[in-house]
């Protein structure tokens, strides 16, 4: 349905193929969270890998920082409709975390857990093979608290609520278990190119 009198701010064609439907470009980096911003001292920080309820490996901040580093520059897309191009991240690839724990694919589903009680589900296929990392730096600087510091999940090809801030572990699950927003009406997978914003999209 055409909206009378609306033309919008349409991007040039060279960028439009990088902007999923219903999204608009921003230059700033908006912050959206469901609660207070946690304060996490790296001395208290741990990252735990679990299979079901069973912890299989845990890292301290210094141990985690000693893992191989990966950099990626990606476009990111928030379900609230902003997209930001060319964001530069550095962290530890999920592949390297799994390799360090001697795991390949215990189950096909993963639930990411966070310090603020947040969680989100991502299939292993969307975390492995270089697709995702636990990010420790943004634009060359330690990750700011507001953006999930000291560490956040980065799954840039899915809506950004999947890139959980203040992440403290990954849990392999037998089924695709809904996380925080997925239990509250958001899509289980969240592909921006198919506009999978809400449960039945």
């Amino acid at each position: 349905m055409v909206t009378r009198g609306f033309t919008g701010r349409q991007s040039g064609s060279e960028l439009s193929d990088r902007i999923p439907p219903g999204q608009h470009l921003v230059d700033n980096f908006p912050v959206l969270t469901a609660g207070p911003t946690p304060q996490i001292d790296p001395a208290d920080w741990t990252f735990t890998l679990k299979i079901g309820p069973r912890p299989v490996k845990a890292w301290s901040w210094s141990e985690f920082n000693a893992l191989p580093r990966t950099r990626m520059t990606r476009d990111i897309h928030c379900v609230t409709s902003w997209s930001k191009l060319n964001t530069a991240w550095e962290g530890v690839a999920i592949d390297d975390i799994l390799a360090e724990a001697g795991l390949t694919a215990p189950t096909p589903f993963v639930l990411a857990h966070c310090y603020d009680g947040y969680s989100t589900n991502v299939p292993l296929a969307d975390l492995a093979t270089g697709k995702a990392m636990v990010a420790l730096k943004y634009e060359g600087q330690p990750l700011p608290r507001d953006h999930g510091g000291p560490a956040r999940l980065l799954v840039p090809h899915l809506y950004f609520w999947k890139s959980a801030k203040w992440v403290n572990g990954l849990q392999f699950t037998e089924r695709d278990e809904a996380g925080f927003w997925e239990l509250r009406g958001y899509h289980m997978y969240g592909d921006p190119w198919n506009e999978q914003r809400y449960t039945n999209d």
Binding site: M1, T3, T7, P30, S81, R197, Y198, T199, D201
Partner: protein, 248 residues
């Protein structure tokens, strides 16, 4: 999933039936739903505008009206000078136009229901919109949970829903109102002439007969961080503090 959730995700056409200027920068748009829905105070809708060549722009707006049987919902939209959608609403949209929306959406920033001891609402500027839906719901329902609102605005004339809030302050039992004006002196002794800080949040929380069991904060990221940290100091349970931050 359930039928109810399926219904919420369908786009529907709505007619603009009234436009009301609320403050120099904020207008309310009253939209007549073609499919009525039953929302919970605090929820939002997604609005979609479509250009003749098929380009679409989508934004989320909180619902200002209380849940009711009415087909009409109110959205209060601030005109962002460099915005894409809000200038369309302020400068182009007229009564009789139709726009597309879907909702109600959001399953977290929700009025908690009658079990809570009291509710502290903290908003800045147009961040009062979902909080206003809660206050209006509290008035329309039989609920008696004490509510306090701390609302930060630049000036007296920028206070969204000012006259209605002042009226509710005197007529609604167990409702406390505190305004924080950041660019001019407050005119009432119960208000503040400064930006939000932790002592201000503690002062307003103390106006509730019982300590807040639930806190809702809506505004810019910097504002929300200050308010949420101050609320944490009152009641160290992060899960009871729900925040919504402007995404722009």
């Amino acid at each position: 999933m359930t039928e109810a959730i399926a219904a919420t995700t369908r786009w529907q056409s709505c007619a603009i039936v009234e436009i009301a200027t609320r403050t120099p920068a904020i207008k309310s748009f009253f939209l007549s739903l073609s499919e009525t829905f039953d929302h919970t105070a605090g929820q939002h809708v997604d609005v979609r505008l479509t250009a003749p060549n098929g380009y679409t722009a989508m934004r989320s707006y909180s619902i200002a009206s209380a849940p009711s049987d009415s087909k009409v919902i109110e959205l209060a939209i601030e005109r962002l000078p460099d915005g894409e959608v809000s200038p369309f609403f302020h400068d182009v949209a007229q009564v009789g136009d139709t726009i597309e929306l879907r909702g109600p959406l959001g399953g977290h920033f929700l009025w908690p229901g009658p079990t809570e001891k009291s509710v502290l609402l903290i908003g800045a500027g147009s961040g009062v919109v979902p909080l206003m839906a809660m206050i209006r719901y509290r008035k329309a329902s039989a609920e008696r949970v004490p509510v306090a609102l701390l609302l930060s605005s630049r000036t007296w004339d920028d206070v969204l829903f000012r006259d209605e809030l002042l009226e509710l302050e005197s007529s609604l039992p167990d409702f406390a109102l505190a305004l924080a004006l950041t660019r001019e002196p407050a005119m009432r002794s119960s208000d503040f002439s400064r930006r939000i800080d932790a002592p201000m949040v503690a002062d307003v929380a103390a106006r509730l007969r019982v300590a807040p069991g639930c806190v809702f904060v809506c505004g810019s990221n910097a504002f929300v961080d200050i308010a949420a940290d101050a609320a944490l100091a009152l009641r160290p349970d992060a899960g009871a503090i729900k925040t919504e931050r402007y995404g722009t």
